[in-house]
């Protein structure tokens, strides 16, 4: 009699725990099957306060001369950019030609040096450089103190 009782307790506990685990697993499966929520792209949603009509600028309409000037300027710009592009492409072409000539001469000289030259340079990329600014850096400039607090919203799926 004393021996039978603890056995019953164990069985009932085990069954109850099994049932609980199965219920949890079913819930987890249901949640996973539901499609994940899309992360909203904040740039594409204009906040409502900017669609207020009071915010629209009131400007006088453009005169005929102004529109003419703008159209002519656009055409000049088009031509300018085309010339610039052609010049750039031509410069790259001469660069490539000069390099090909150099490699050809090198090959005539020695095959081994040529093979060393056309091998890929692993240390070249990634190449980082800070671009030019409008004014050179001021020597001995002390930038004002301040703290930057990042308030970007981070979404997780």
């Amino acid at each position: 009699p004393c021996r039978a009782q603890p056995k019953k307790k164990k069985k009932v506990d085990v069954k109850r725990e099994q049932a609980q685990k199965d219920r949890m697993k079913k819930k987890i499966k249901k949640l996973e099957k539901a499609a994940p929520e899309m992360i909203p792209i904040e740039d594409f949603i204009t906040p409502l306060k900017y669609s207020d009509s009071k915010r629209v600028r009131s400007l006088p309409p453009l005169s005929f001369e102004e529109t003419e000037r703008r159209v002519l300027l656009m055409k000049k710009w088009c031509l300018f950019k085309q010339k610039q592009d052609k010049a750039e492409k031509k410069a790259i072409q001469t660069l490539v030609e000069a390099q090909q000539e150099a490699l050809k001469e090198l090959r005539l000289e020695s095959e081994e040096l040529y093979q060393a030259a056309i091998r890929r340079d692993e240390g070249l990329f990634p190449f980082e450089r800070e671009g030019p600014n409008y004014t050179p850096p001021l020597p001995g400039y002390d930038p004002p103190e301040g703290k930057c607090v990042d308030i970007t919203k981070v979404y997780t799926q």
Binding site: L59, W77, L106, T135
Partner: protein, 243 residues
């Protein structure tokens, strides 16, 4: 197999470029276009918060002047107006002095300094003895068996600027070649002439105070190269230099 004796002597030369630090001045069309795009952008935009605040305050001021002493708001309260803020920012801007774009070295035309012509590429030229002439050239060294040509160019650079130079060499392949035959007096069957292979590198470190510059050196732009280099050499060098 015995390789045929090569009659050309090989040299590796390094074209060290100091990249521009400031932007080049805009062309006339670029300036006009920039002004036009700014104007169009302003026309298409809506009022910002700051501008709304400014408009409202102007309205309030106008109403206060028209209706005599409409004191709904407490008179003792000092409110910072948007216009005051703008004036304060304007003052702060005027007080700031940026570094000049045209440096002292520009004015003195000191060609040995790295601080001139901050908006264009500067190249290193050194005076070297070739044969029995002293010429202005890109630093070069003769190739020795057992090293690649890039190694030769690096050795040439180190010979003139010391070991502590941070330069990014752009790849293993040469960018250009200058081939010349020796004058008849020293031409032999073994030494017909020389081939100089050019490599390009970007200067990374901005100060060269540690560099031990032994011989005469110059930092010049592409346009000024013509003052120092011979015409044939210059033609070949110009081919692989972008403006």
């Amino acid at each position: 197999a015995a390789s045929a004796p090569r009659p050309w002597r090989l040299f590796g030369a390094m074209c060290l470029l100091r990249l521009p630090r400031i932007t080049q001045p805009l062309a006339k069309e670029e300036e006009e276009m920039a002004a036009l795009t700014e104007q169009i952008e302003m026309e298409k935009s809506h009022y910002s918060d700051h501008e709304m605040r400014k408009l409202e305050e102007e309205e309030q001021l106008r109403r206060r002047k028209e209706s005599t002493y409409d004191d709904d708001e407490a008179p003792g309260k000092t409110v910072i107006m948007a216009q005051d803020l703008e004036d304060k920012w304007e003052q702060k801007l005027l007080q700031f002095q940026a570094a000049p774009r045209v440096t002292d070295a520009d004015k003195n035309n000191n060609r040995t300094s790295l601080n001139r012509k901050l908006d264009s590429n500067l190249m290193l030229l050194v005076k070297q003895k070739v044969g029995n002439q002293e010429l202005w050239l890109l630093p070069q060294a003769e190739w020795q068996p057992g090293e690649t040509l890039r190694g030769t160019a690096e050795r040439a650079m180190a010979a003139f600027l010391g070991d502590h130079i941070q330069a990014k060499i752009l790849g293993n392949a040469p960018y250009g070649i200058y081939k010349y035959k020796f004058p008849r007096a020293i031409r032999t069957a073994d030494h017909l002439g020389a081939k100089v292979f050019f490599f390009k590198a970007f200067l990374q470190s901005s100060d060269l105070s540690q560099a031990e510059l032994k011989e005469d050196y110059l930092w010049v732009t592409k346009d000024e190269l013509g003052d120092y280099l011979k015409s044939e050499y210059l033609k070949k060098v110009n081919r692989f230099l972008l403006d």
